[in-house]
Assembly symmetry: C2
Homo-oligomer: 337 residues x 2
């Protein structure tokens, strides 16, 4: 089966499993409680459909890891649902915290139901993630289920730490590159790493295999974030006339911008002088590049990608799932917009 066909098959199974977990209640008193969850998952309400669900990259990564490491992906479906639900719980709260009115082209949960109910919907989604994971019991050894729960919740602790740093530095403005890595470790890399770690615990027989998959997920997550940061300044949408989507305009503390600021040159000067208007973006983008931020970011992306692919190689992924895993990683890291 070609990589895309395998991914499609897994994605359909993931969607069915997510629906099983989320559709747990049918009390008429709770109709709206339930509606918030299925709306956010992209299944119901205005604009529902494939464009609204997200790409389900994390559960796919988990299932492909299981198969590539010689395990039974069907038995791992509850864990796949759990990581996707953790991701979505964090998005619901993130949208409140960032005051974001839109996500994937649709109004966010808080925008439709208000902040108090959206906080609660996020809490409900987090709880469902935990319950989903515990459904592994009976399909995997109990000790492995406990290990998976520890990995997932250790990851959630890192997620809240990354989120804390992100919000704290938004105000303080003294984020250095060291703190950036700690933030990204928590906000992005930890959950990717949890996917490959849990997948490996469900399938690998040796600690070396688990270690290699863990490293693969962590480096893949870091590389993914750096590529994202690169595209936020030099990506198709940010560059081709759409200055309004540039991270420079949003004053996002991304890797190229932090590097630019650390140079204390003309970019730093323009950034600290005051408000940035859409018309300033091309000039600032050019300044960033001339001061070395583009090269710096590309080098980091390349280095992390190389490390991720090396870790994947060390894990010796098997069969067509192994091919699909390499394919997924390449797709994630070679995006252009």
């Amino acid at each position: 089966m070609p990589p895309d066909a395998l991914a499609l098959k897994y994605r359909q199974a993931i969607e069915a499993e997510l629906q099983r977990v989320v559709n747990f209640s049918n009390s008429p008193h709770l109709a709206d409680y339930h509606q918030m969850l299925v709306y956010h998952m992209g299944w119901e309400g205005e604009g529902a459909g494939p464009g609204a669900t997200g790409k389900r990259i994390r559960p796919l990564l988990l299932l492909l890891t299981v198969t590539a490491a010689g395990g039974d992906w069907r038995a791992a479906l509850p864990a796949a649902a759990a990581v996707e639900l953790v991701h979505n719980f964090s998005l619901i709260h993130d949208d409140i915290q960032d005051d974001s009115p839109m996500r994937r082209g649709r109004p966010t949960v808080w925008k439709l139901w208000g902040i108090p109910q959206a906080i609660n919907a996020g809490d409900a989604m987090f709880t469902l993630a935990q319950l989903a994971l515990l459904d592994l019991a009976g399909r995997a050894e109990v000790a492995v289920v406990l290990q998976a729960a520890k990995i997932l919740n250790g990851t959630c602790a890192l997620l809240t730490q990354g989120q804390y740093l992100d919000m704290a530095y938004e105000r303080r403005g003294d984020l250095n590159i060291e703190a950036y890595w700690q933030m990204v470790q928590g906000k992005t890399a930890a959950l990717f790493s949890a996917c490959t770690q849990i997948g490996a615990w469900l399938a690998c027989s040796s600690p070396e295999c688990r270690e290699a998959y863990r490293n693969f997920g962590a480096d893949l997550g870091l590389a993914f974030q750096v590529v994202d940061d690169y595209l936020g300044v030099w990506g198709d949408t940010a560059l081709t006339g759409k200055s309004s989507e540039s991270d420079i305009l949003a004053r996002k503390k991304s890797l190229p911008i932090l590097f630019g600021l650390s140079q204390k040159g003309r970019f730093y000067q323009a950034w600290t002088e005051g408000q940035i208007m859409p018309a300033d973006v091309p000039r600032l983008t050019h300044l960033l590049e001339s001061e070395g931020a583009r090269e710096f970011t590309q080098e980091h992306a390349a280095r992390l990608t190389h490390r991720a692919m090396g870790a994947l190689g060390a894990a010796r992924p098997q069969g067509e799932a192994g091919d699909a895993l390499r394919h997924l990683a390449e797709e994630m890291l070679s995006r252009t917009g």
Copy 2:
């Protein structure tokens, strides 16, 4: 050991276990992240101390259940910490949702650090609850640990449902008494019941014993809430001149008020006519009583208390922990203010 001395000993151990779980990180970047958690727990910051920690009733209930059912309470400490952390996570989010500036005489987390950081602090506390529970591994059989995790998270799902109903009915105004019980089941009784259930799973050898403790916790929680609702209208603080603390003024949908509304009499009329001022409270309190709400609430409190004590009797709690459990229940249900 008299009940109070036993409770004191357990409370000290609970506090130490909570500190162990919450003080997990010492990164200098995360100092403020950590500060929000220890402030909310009542250990640090302005006004810290015994008055700021709360009574730790839930973990105490769990540990006393373990001992009274013949188990080792020290091995159960991680579970005791977990239920208290779940309670506190829900309080942090509740204070945002209710727009409450104060809790236990101190400014709430969101009031000091803002809503975005407070949402995240609640999420962190929830995650710590999960991690605490998983620390049972090694002290209890893995199958029992998984069972405890299922009970705790099933309870969290009920908590979010109760919270949803509470907020939804605040606006809709059509809460009937049936929906009230569903809300209270989720908001209060579920977590009390989780305490006795988890305690029983860690100690009981028979399903009958577990069932009796489960019922005890559930009825105790319902009775506790009904007593709370009673005191919100006829308690010392609500009555003795402090009309400002009456649930009538706060327009809270409590049991006596819902009963009063259901009578569609003069209380209903006054309630629906418009704003209620502090000076109106004594008259409305009197109307509620004359229309039977006080008697109705007392009857429910008595019935539920009787049921809770009956369930506790059926569980045959042993030794001084058994005495302390009866004592705790009596204390909880005979409060006057």
